[in-house]
Symmetry: C2
Subunit: 250 residues, 2 copies
DNA sequence: TGTACATCAGTGAACGCGCGTTCACTGATGTAC
DNA sequence: TGTACATCAGTGAACGCGCGTTCACTGATGTAC
């Protein structure tokens, strides 16, 4: 594993890359359950047993693909967020949501790998949790920043908001410590709800279960993001909060 | 297919039932991709080719299982809804949502079959769409009834509500004609958003992708339903809308 | 009611295929002196 | 710089398995007269 020689190590990591690339290509053709080490080897012009120099089992190849997928999606969303004015929370949440859907639609099988039905018999090892949490940390960061900037207000009057149960409040408190310092419990739970809504649409979209219901999924998705932004309580900082209504000539 | 003899037909339909039952048992053990006709036959003590008297191919067995799953979930939710006071829309939406999650958690593999990643190479035929739409019609019915009873009000002030794009409004209009007569376009889209949120949580829950984030999923789910009920705009008809605040002794 | 024929369920062998993984091996590439 | 040895990549055969589907067949169950 260490840089035993330099050249050998480079060749080795190139081949690992080639194996994963070919595996992803087959993923896109046939889906995860149909992915086989033998067919990857065949396509690469090697004998099937040679793969075992690089991945000790089929499951470990899966693990590598899963980690890559989490990292790519995570990076994609991180970049979408980073490209926004940091104080424009509405835009940040919107762009990040669109980035999730965009990546998912472009890589449906990688998306299924990480957010679809679990692969039977496969248990994800611990090294997937780091990459897996990158994406949620982006969304948590937006909420945290908004709260810190006082740009997060409850969407309804207090008496119309459902009260958190003790258990739900405890979870919110735990999450606040983890990644959402200074965010009110209500807002934390609403963010989580928006988070699940996001993946609900994207799942339906990627798996083709919304086309019977909605014709223009783009439009519906955009609207759902706008509604969720409102629901979480982001205040649009681009427009001054209480601008006097006066006629302006452009 | 017709009742050729009566006895033969009964035996036949019993065996079809047994095959499906065994197939579902294996579904729960290994998941859909691992389901094989041979192992079903083996378990039933028949020779593998005998299955072909009942299902002409593996795909047709899948289709039968999918239709059954849709029907069971649909019926389960229909019953949950029907057990409520028809004019209590909050309760109807809540109970129906809980019914979805309850069924999904009790039958995770059947749930995956119909709402998880698509089975590679399998195309669902047209006879699945009827059973598939039973469930959404329940939720649509609740919204329609609430609108008809004037128990559906926008959750925010009008100027705080995002405007529907033309495309989104067109979809809403189409859905109104289909199943949501008399419901305002905004409310239709909000209902759809709540619908996707519901399946977002349930997916995460069934596939075990929320346990890292939330400890008490029951509590979170219940709260998310309450928030969505508010979000859609159901008015709780059990409590009179503008009760005068006065001290009551219990 | 009894017989001749048609229908159907289930058998068993076969076709042709693919899979993950192991193992003893050959050669080439690197390392240490 | 040159040689002896260790490391590693890749080979090819094998193990033991499972799969969907077809096909000619046997016997039992039904139907028509």
């Amino acid at each position: 594993m260490a840089t035993t020689s330099g050249i050998r190590a480079r060749v080795r990591s190139e081949l690992i890359h080639e194996i994963k690339t070919e595996a992803r290509r087959q993923l896109a053709l046939e889906g995860a359950p149909a992915l086989s080490l033998r067919s990857v080897a065949r396509e690469l012009g090697m004998v099937s047993s040679a793969i075992y120099r690089y991945f000790a089992s089929r499951d470990l190849l899966f693990t590598a693909l899963i980690i890559d997928a989490y990292n790519e999606l995570g990076q994609h969303v991180e970049e979408a967020d980073a490209n926004c004015d940091p104080s424009n929370f509405v835009r940040r949440w919107t762009r990040s949501s669109e980035a999730v859907r965009g990546w998912a639609l472009q890589h449906p099988h990688e998306y299924s790998l990480i957010y679809g039905s679990p692969i039977p018999g496969y248990r994800a090892p611990a090294d997937t949790v780091g990459p897996a949490s990158r994406i949620i940390l982006v969304f948590a960061g937006i909420v945290r920043d908004a709260a810190a900037a006082n740009a997060l207000v409850a969407p309804y009057a207090k008496e119309r908001t459902p009260k958190l149960s003790k258990a739900a409040a405890a979870d919110a408190a735990r999450l606040e410590v983890l990644a959402l310092h200074g965010v009110a419990p209500d807002a934390i739970v609403r963010s989580l709800i928006a988070w699940t809504q996001l993946f609900g649409v994207v799942n339906f979209d990627v798996f083709g279960r919304i086309n019977d219901i909605v014709e223009d999924v783009d439009a519906f998705f955009l609207h759902s993001v706008q509604e969720m932004v409102r629901f979480i309580g982001f205040v649009d900082t681009k427009k001054p909060p209480r601008a006097p209504k006066a006629k302006l000539d452009l």
